[in-house]
Symmetry: C2
Subunit: 200 residues, 2 copies
Amino acid sequence: MIEKNTELKIIEAARKVFLVRGYSGARMQDIADEAGINKAMLHYYFRNKDKLFESIFSESVNNIRDIFSQSLNSEKEIDNTLINFIATYSEFIKNNRYLPSFIINEMQQGSEMVEDLFKKNIKMYPIEFIKKLKKEQSLGTLEKYDPLQIIVSIIGLCLFPVLAQPVLKILFDYDDNKYDKFLTERVAFLQKFIIKGLKK
Amino acid sequence: MIEKNTELKIIEAARKVFLVRGYSGARMQDIADEAGINKAMLHYYFRNKDKLFESIFSESVNNIRDIFSQSLNSEKEIDNTLINFIATYSEFIKNNRYLPSFIINEMQQGSEMVEDLFKKNIKMYPIEFIKKLKKEQSLGTLEKYDPLQIIVSIIGLCLFPVLAQPVLKILFDYDDNKYDKFLTERVAFLQKFIIKGLKK
DNA sequence: TTTGTATTCAACTATTTGGTTAAATTATTT
DNA sequence: AAATAATTTAACCAAATAGTTGAATACAAA
């Protein structure tokens, strides 16, 4: 019997394996098993490991980019922009645990191929948000910090607890439920903490 | 001629390779080349890849733990504790770029062996710092945030720009010099931003 | 010097892993 | 139904990689 969605099944399996194990840790056999197909099928649909990886990595970069620009540009006023971004971005990351560490890690390796894919797909600079910040800064409502320091801080505050989840769970002796609660509560904490830190 | 510090050379080479490439990305041959010795020497001094990895990973966890507790407990007063921690920790991380991502990544894989090594070596809970925070909170000088949220935030703010360095460099179109400047300037920014965010 | 021990290496083996192929099966078109 | 095209598989092959071995060399102690 011919399976209609073999390609989709492969993509889903590859996503699962690559995101957790990374390029060098991923095994073609594992991906085939996860997809419930024969290993040769992978090479039928995708010429080789590199090509399969490329499609997963590109897709991942696109996802991060989309949710980022989408959640950063939805509201007009700066406070609401921040509140909305923190909530939306945190939620997305929570549901896509492995996405940030996957991208960060592959980029760390410094391979030409990965860097090119990243550059090709990311195309994003938060120009509108920076304008908003600068305007508030010149009005005297926000501290005159470097906008990029601010952006890195906000993203980092959202991402880090998910990036470091396995480490922090052990450090704090939290089980899955407790850590989930920790992440949920973090949204309100961040909204208050960040705005307090930025306001003059 | 017998080389006196072969074991040390191996450790240094293994550190270099493992920290950047991770367990699965590291090649015994690369480590041997980096150390300037024969591949068989690795197995003479360390039985196998796992044993060599274990010693590097344990050492890394110990380093992180030491610098953490050391820079967190040096000062008495809360403001100075924070200012000192941010400066010391940031400086350490800047000089040990790959340490955080190495540990976080290997922990992400969820292997029994790595998790056990981590638990065995970390043994750290910032009890003194939490006491200090709670005292200030009850005095009304600090906002009544969950101490763990605070700690995760401070660490994340210091670590994230180094974790995500390759990504952020491309996003901001910064070269090595510019990014180095960004990290240097970040210390003062964080000291101000964090204290403002925490103070009532 | 001689003897024993630690160190080093080149060449080898075993295993893992990515990739190929040819044949069989299923679907689609004529 | 027959012919053609697409899909799937088992059984391979080739390359990469971890690990082994035995001989040679250097050093230290007797």
